[in-house]
């Protein structure tokens, strides 16, 4: 059964993930950045992760950039990656559907590591997503499978280890990797 994850836990894990990413970049030969923040969140607001976005407003270690479209978010993530900055996307399932061409053209064809956290708004606690009453929920995993994008569900506090794992997976595979946030964060 999916369980709500506290925003503070997600943010702490994201900070650790970005710290680890910075250490990896330094090992690759990147200079330490002149700015203070650890990494970037690119978001088109996701109803499901709104408590995380609200808490990030007060978080100086992570820079949040709200984008007008998910297409922009993916292309901005590509630029940040090329320039050596850690970055994660926070969007919702509708945003994935809205930006499929960019997922293909940028993350897949460009072999660009794009780490996504995607809210599954409407996911019923007692049903498998594939049996959901909502098309938004039903099509998400099959769509990712069609494009060969690795994905996992983030459905309780004990799953947060998946955040650094899928971040690293996107880097190791040089492509997109997705965590699906099953329940609204608290």
């Amino acid at each position: 059964m999916p369980e709500s994850i506290p925003a503070s836990l997600i943010i702490d894990v994201l900070k650790d993930t970005f710290r680890e990413a910075r250490a990896a970049l330094a090992a690759e030969g990147y200079r330490a950045p002149r700015h203070e923040h650890l990494g970037w969140i690119l978001s088109v607001p996701d109803t499901h992760q709104k408590s995380v976005l609200a808490a990030l407003d007060k978080e100086r270690a992570i820079r949040v950039l709200t984008c007008a479209t998910e297409d922009e978010a993916v292309a901005i993530a590509a630029g940040l990656y090329i320039g050596g900055e850690p970055v994660a996307l926070m969007i919702q399932h509708a945003g994935l559907y809205a930006s499929v061409n960019t997922l293909r053209g940028v993350a897949l064809d460009g072999r660009l590591p794009v780490f996504y956290m995607i809210g599954l708004l409407g996911r019923e606690k007692d049903r498998e997503p594939r049996d959901s009453r909502h098309s938004m929920v039903r099509y998400c995993e099959p769509l990712l499978d069609l494009f060969g994008v690795p994905h996992a569900r983030l459905e309780g506090p004990s799953d947060v280890h998946l955040i650094p794992e899928y971040y690293r997976l996107s880097r190791a595979r040089r492509g997109p990797a997705v965590l699906l946030v099953g329940l609204e964060t608290s």
Partner: protein, 190 residues
């Protein structure tokens, strides 16, 4: 008066210094011959993404200029990116719009509004620090060096004629993924 896009690109090549360039659509084949093997990454295969790709680069590398060579049809496809760029306030981003009034690469169909669309007004309304239009190569040569030094984001709407080649008539160049890796390596060393 419309400027020949190839002349414009040759002028940019002499002035851009070590700026990272992001061409898209009809500027891609010309730029490939004018500035081979340099600090560029093209936007091909995700129409409308050049401004955002440039924004990401500019935010990651505030120490260097990033120049986007956008298409008018492409910018219309991701017009909201004007607001996103303006809100992020990248001081080092120069956004050039090659305004030919058409989707030349797909067969030169007129873009919505044709040449009526005023990208300067749109950029200013979105919050760009500056925006201006030019339709003359000499004026561009005179003004662009200062643009490269001033605080961005700046948008320059350039009235251009049709290009000699498009990505359809002159396909090729390195795959996008290879350009990404090569630029990443070059930037790391700089």
């Amino acid at each position: 008066m419309a400027i020949k896009p190839e002349d414009l690109l040759r002028a940019i090549a002499t002035m851009r210094g070590d700026a990272v360039c992001v061409p898209t659509m009809t500027t891609v084949p010309a730029w490939r011959t004018i500035a081979p093997d340099d600090l560029s990454v093209v936007c091909v295969g995700f129409m409308g993404g050049a401004s955002s790709l440039g924004l990401g680069l500019a935010l990651a590398r505030p120490d260097r200029r990033v120049i986007v060579f956008d298409g008018d049809g492409s910018l219309l496809m991701q017009l909201g990116s004007l607001a996103t760029v303006a809100a992020a306030q990248p001081r080092n981003l120069v956004h050039l719009v090659f305004k030919n009034g058409v989707y030349q690469t797909s067969g030169a169909q007129e873009v919505p509004g044709g040449l009526q669309v005023d990208f300067v007004a749109m950029a200013k309304a979105a919050g760009y620090r500056e925006a201006y239009a030019l339709a003359d190569l000499d004026a561009f040569r005179r003004r662009f060096p200062a643009t490269l030094r001033q605080e961005g984001p700046v948008l320059v709407e350039l009235s251009t004629g049709l290009a000699e080649q498009t990505p359809m008539t002159a396909p090729g160049g390195k795959p996008f993924s290879q350009q990404v890796e090569e630029l990443r390596e070059k930037l790391r060393e700089l």
